[in-house]
């Protein structure tokens, strides 16, 4: 019989190794899935997960003049990783406090709506300096939406998982209503979309020939700042204590309610920022589909990054690769987009399963008698 035996100390090595094992198992299971679907497994996995690395390698090795085109796909990975990292870093802090904000998708949408409202109401010829208030408007939109589950949890004890999730649907319908009504482009041929944002509200591109934009700097700064906060400040300590041992936290004078407010506003604000950055950098207008599913996928990012804000950067790149791979596989292998979701779900399954090894040893034992 297989039993789990607790380790005297959680294994630090396995805590770092577990995501690697999980990625390996996902590739293995993914290969089997591809074979079952009648696709060449190695070729499929290459397209899904390794193509961006190959192109990056081409860019590194080829001489100047021939290499520029190879940077596009690796840059696209980073472009996809930016919103995932921003949301994932915030969720990492939130989950550490044992507060389950799973409505980041709604907060992301509200960030895009409030940011978009600001951008669309600016006068013609707006100054580029307005990009900062645009992003702040996005943060405020996300915070406002996350304030609802925070308030209802603290005041009425309502479950934040369900409230934040329900608000995701509400935000989606609100966006749909706005782009078909108040925000609709009068010259848009009746399509449900807003006018294009003015140049002032477009994230500046950092590398010519790619879509890599300033958001990457924002995402890295945010991750580092949150990492410092969690590891080096009293606030971070408070969040960790409240999450791990709420009673001990209460004796230490930490307020559970204040922590709930703090982590929900933080993660909501970052999700809102991600929404504002994403619409400004990619679609450059408001429309019904603004990739709000990033809000859910960022949950995997947070776990893959060990609920550590810096780790979320790593997790975001891995998930972004799976997105880009999914898009390539749609074209090259005629695989449906849904396969990406299967990979992402499997990754989280394997990761959670492997995490057991951090705290437990697997032992083979004869069934006890008597």
């Amino acid at each position: 019989m297989i039993v789990l035996e607790p380790r005297p100390q959680p294994s630090r090595a396995l805590a770092l190794l577990s995501p690697v094992i999980a990625i390996g198992l996902t590739l293995l299971a993914g290969g089997i899935l591809m074979a079952l679907m009648g696709k060449p497994p190695l070729e499929a996995l290459r397209i899904y997960f390794f193509q961006p690395f190959e192109e990056l390698w081409m860019w590194i090795t080829l001489p100047e003049g021939e290499r520029e085109m190879w940077l596009y796909t690796p840059a696209e990975v980073i472009v996809k990783a930016i919103p995932l990292a921003l949301i994932g870093a915030g969720l990492a802090v939130c989950f550490r406090a044992n507060v389950w904000n799973i409505g980041a998708a709604g907060q992301y949408t509200m960030g895009a709506i409030i940011g978009g409202w600001f951008a669309l109401s600016a006068p013609e010829g707006a100054s580029g300096l307005l990009l900062a208030p645009y992003l702040i408007a996005g943060v405020l939109g996300g915070m406002a939406w996350a304030a609802i589950p925070a308030f209802l949890r603290v005041r009425f004890n309502a479950n934040e998982i369900l409230v934040s999730l329900m608000l995701t649907y509400v935000a989606g319908y609100l966006l749909d209503w706005l782009v078909r009504g108040a925000f609709k482009d009068p010259l848009g041929f009746g399509f449900p979309q807003s006018e294009d944002f003015q140049d002032a509200f477009i994230m500046p591109v950092l590398v010519e020939g790619t879509r890599l934009h300033l958001g990457v700097v924002v995402a890295i700064l945010v991750a580092v700042a949150l990492w410092v906060m969690m590891g080096r400040t009293m606030k971070g300590f408070e969040v960790r204590v409240i999450g791990a041992a709420p009673r001990a936290g209460a004796f230490a004078g930490f307020s559970r309610d204040r922590t709930i407010w703090f982590v929900l506003l933080l993660s909501g604000g970052l999700a809102g920022l991600a929404g504002a950055i994403e619409v400004s950098a990619t679609v450059q207008q408001l429309q019904p589909q603004i990739s709000a599913e990033y809000g859910f996928v960022a949950i995997i990012v947070a776990f893959l990054g060990r609920l550590n804000p810096l780790g979320a950067l790593f997790g975001a790149v891995i998930l972004a690769i799976s997105y880009i791979g999914g898009e390539n596989a749609q074209i090259l292998l005629q695989l449906p987009k849904a396969v990406t979701g299967i990979f992402q779900g499997m990754l989280l399954f394997f990761l959670l399963g492997c995490d057991t090894l951090i705290r437990y040893r697997i032992r083979l034992m004869r069934p006890a008698r008597g």
């Binding site: 789990l4 209503w177 859910f296 779900g345």
Partner: protein
């Protein structure tokens, strides 16, 4: 009004099926947030079976089986490997959305004959009451029968008592000699099978076709219903019908000439869920009285 009530009963059925299963799961101390994924798998597998065999009975069974298979994945990771339950449930939903989309890609745009409806001569169609009570398909009655069966099981049988005991205090349950993990496996699989039935209802009867993500958050609403019902099956039935009435507003609102944009009517079920959660949760005594004390906590036998 008659049509409104009939469509309310139909809309309540998938919610009731999924929620009654989750109620049993949660009563055993397990929080499975993957209902949405299990429902979607139930929906697509039931559709596939109905489409290829033409047998609705087989399709219903297959839908339940698909939901239970998904719940088995959850159980292995969350119960045997002691993983974080909310995270495992979310993974189940993400996986289920993807897997059902992949399986269902060939079925988009195919329509099925809906499940046949009960038709007793004279009784089923001559009066409004007959049409409201006696003109539905088998799953509408199955959902109600399941709710009654669960009530009987939880409060009138020894096994039900053991299940509740394990949910309230797994260490005591273990000390009494109950196999906590085995009980939780069974409760979780039952929950999965019910969610699969709820999904099957959507693709076989509610809208007899397959569409990606056709559950549209019903799995989450079912979760909220369990809280709203304070973990009691009787209140769950009432809650499901109440919620279904709110859902129907979006279809009847425009007929009745309500001056509200369709998007706001579509928001109604989600907003109503939040309102209901707040009303129930603010009364701590009401929730604490029936909430399983060990919900979401992993159990490992120390000896």
């Amino acid at each position: 009004m008659e049509n409104f009530i009939i469509s309310m009963i139909i809309a309540a059925t998938p919610l009731l099926l999924a929620a009654i299963g989750e109620l049993v799961t949660e009563r055993s101390g397990v929080l499975n947030l993957g209902i949405e994924g299990m429902m979607l798998m139930g929906a697509v597998i039931a559709f596939a079976v109905a489409n290829s065999t033409g047998s609705s009975a087989l399709a219903i069974v297959a839908g339940a089986g698909a939901g239970a298979a998904m719940a088995l994945i959850f159980s292995v990771i969350a119960l045997s490997l002691l993983a974080n339950q909310p995270a495992t449930g979310l993974a189940l939903t993400i996986f289920g959305v993807g897997a059902s989309g992949l399986i269902g890609q060939g079925f988009v745009g195919i329509a099925l004959d809906p499940l046949s409806k009960l038709s007793i001569p004279v009784l089923s169609d001559s009066t409004a009451l007959g049409r409201i009570l006696l003109s539905h398909d088998v799953m509408v009655y199955l959902a109600l029968a399941l709710a009654a069966g669960v009530t009987w099981f939880l409060y009138r049988t020894r096994a039900g008592l053991a299940l509740r005991a394990v949910g309230d205090n797994h260490d005591s349950g273990h000390a009494l000699g109950y196999n906590v993990i085995a009980i939780r496996y069974m409760a979780t699989l039952f929950g999965g099978a019910c969610a699969g039935l709820g999904g099957a209802y959507l693709s076989l009867a509610y809208t007899p076709m397959w569409a990606e993500n056709m559950t549209a958050g019903r799995g989450w609403i079912a979760l909220a219903l369990v809280v709203f019902a304070t973990w009691r099956p009787g209140r769950l039935v009432a809650g499901a019908y109440l919620f279904a009435a709110v859902t129907q507003l979006q279809f009847y609102g425009q007929d009745w000439g309500l001056p509200v944009p369709s998007q706001f009517l579509a928001m109604a079920p989600y907003v109503a869920t939040i309102v209901a959660l707040v009303i129930i949760s603010r009364d701590v005594n009401l929730t604490k009285a029936n909430a399983p004390a060990c919900i979401g906590k992993p159990f490992r036998a120390e000896r």
